[in-house]
């Protein structure tokens, strides 16, 4: 019993330390964002790495998700002869939920892990210390460009995922379920409101913050050589996945009640 209490206490202290560390990193990042210089070259480089390089996998997963969503709902709706609502279901599910969440999970897995591995390697090989000895703040130099790139690119990727997901549903609806093009398009756009897309984008903005801060924190606190970097990368993916899903639940509930 004593050991259990001790273990729980240890976990709690670890959690508080983690939450504190992440909060401090977040506030320092916000502090350094308006400080010159902007480092345009690094920002564009990160936007390309995070956004453009993620396009193929986001395309693939969103397309398949849209197709699966259409097929799965067809299975149910055909029984009630309500196939024409498949388009609405796909468009609303993609824009409100699946587009933002799936894109965030893809980016957290692909980009978050790579940020942690890169910063973690820099930490254990003393490159972050070297930055400081060269009178350069590591948060300004390493975290800020990644933060700005992520909060700009993740919402854009989400819009892209929404469109591709809807296209996936369209392919199944029109070519497999024989819904007419005009009917499918009408049922896609009619129920879709600005707020559906907008709430998805708000979510993706917060998911970007979570992904970046967790990834940078894990990387900048990595120690213990290659093994430590490996552990930090695993923690980054696990923690950002948990936080993305938990915050999605929170935002979905929030938007449900206030809109």
């Amino acid at each position: 019993m004593k050991k259990l209490v001790e273990a729980l206490g240890h976990r709690f202290v670890e959690f508080i330390r983690y939450a504190g560390g992440v909060s401090v990193l977040m506030s320092q990042t916000l502090f350094w964002i308006p400080m010159p210089p902007l480092r345009r070259k690094q920002l564009v480089e990160q936007m390309s790495k995070i956004g453009v390089d993620s396009l193929p996998i986001v395309t693939l997963i969103s397309l398949f998700t849209g197709m699966v969503l259409a097929l799965q709902s067809a299975y149910q709706m055909q029984r009630m002869s309500a196939e024409m609502y498949i388009a609405s279901l796909v468009s609303l599910s993609m824009t409100r939920e699946l587009g933002p969440v799936l894109t965030a999970l893809i980016v957290a897995g692909r980009v978050g892990a790579s940020i942690t591995a890169e910063l973690g390697t820099m930490k254990v090989t003393e490159q972050i210390d070297a930055l400081e000895t060269l009178a350069t703040n590591p948060i300004k130099y390493l975290v800020v460009p990644r933060f700005l790139a992520l909060i700009m690119m993740l919402p854009l990727l989400t819009v892209f995922a929404d469109v591709i997901g809807i296209l996936g549903g369209y392919l199944i609806g029109v070519y497999k379920l024989n819904i007419s093009h005009a009917m499918y398009m009408k049922n896609t756009w009619d129920p879709l409101k600005y707020k559906d897309v907008f709430t998805g984008l708000i979510k993706s903005f917060f998911f970007a913050i979570i992904t970046c801060i967790v990834a940078c924190y894990e990387g900048m606190t990595a120690d213990g050589g290659a093994e430590g970097v490996g552990q930090a990368t695993t923690s980054c993916v696990v923690n950002s996945f948990i936080l993305i899903i938990a915050s999605d639940c929170f935002f979905t509930a929030l938007f449900y009640f206030i809109t």
Partner: protein
Amino acid sequence: MIEIINLCKSFNGHRVLDNLNLTINTGETTVIIGRSGCGKSVLLKHIIGLLKPDHGQIIVDGKDITRMDEKELHAMRMKFGMLFQGAALFDSLNVLENVGFALIEHMNVKDDEIKKRVKECLALVGLKSIEDKKPSELSGGMRKRVGLARAICLRPHVMLYDEPTTGVDPIMGDAINDLIVELHNKLKVTGIAVTHDMTSAYKIADRMAMLYNGKIITVGTPDEIRSAKNPIVKQFITGASKGPITEGIDFEHLI
């Protein structure tokens, strides 16, 4: 002059530096010797403000760096150069960007001027025509020399060397020692090196200090250290496995 006064630092309850006192004279190269893991690098990181002590002061040019804010610390660091154990070159940048990093970041200097200064620094460490190479394309010795070139690029007043000869072959190690002595003579910088390589220590030191159990137990010229009576210093400089440092440690199982 750099004065370290009553410096204390603990990690996870383990005291690494324990009321450490040391004075580094301007223009001299002071080598801090001690066993691996005794806190030499920790001491070096305190001197440049990378670590904050639990207690104590580090006075550089009359100012206590442990109480400086980030802005003051950055201004102070411009006067320092540091060579890291593994060189710590930035993997994503080429040699030109690595060596000229501080110029690119902090000085309003034209590209041509940066290239010229980088070439000069590389020439000082005996390298040329490698500006476009990435750190991954360089050998261990070359990486150390590029690290040295980066450290001297802003013409520092104080140079810190963390295990300058670790990880390179003895010939390259000696070449790096020669470079440190040459840079010291040419640039007239104050040097602080930490090492457990006694050949290197004797070669580059004007004064040597031994760190043991978190304290500086002796300070002297290389000759004074060679003829030291202190059994701990004696055991360390001769590299004997038996003596007061290893009392109670059984190496039999290694044989």
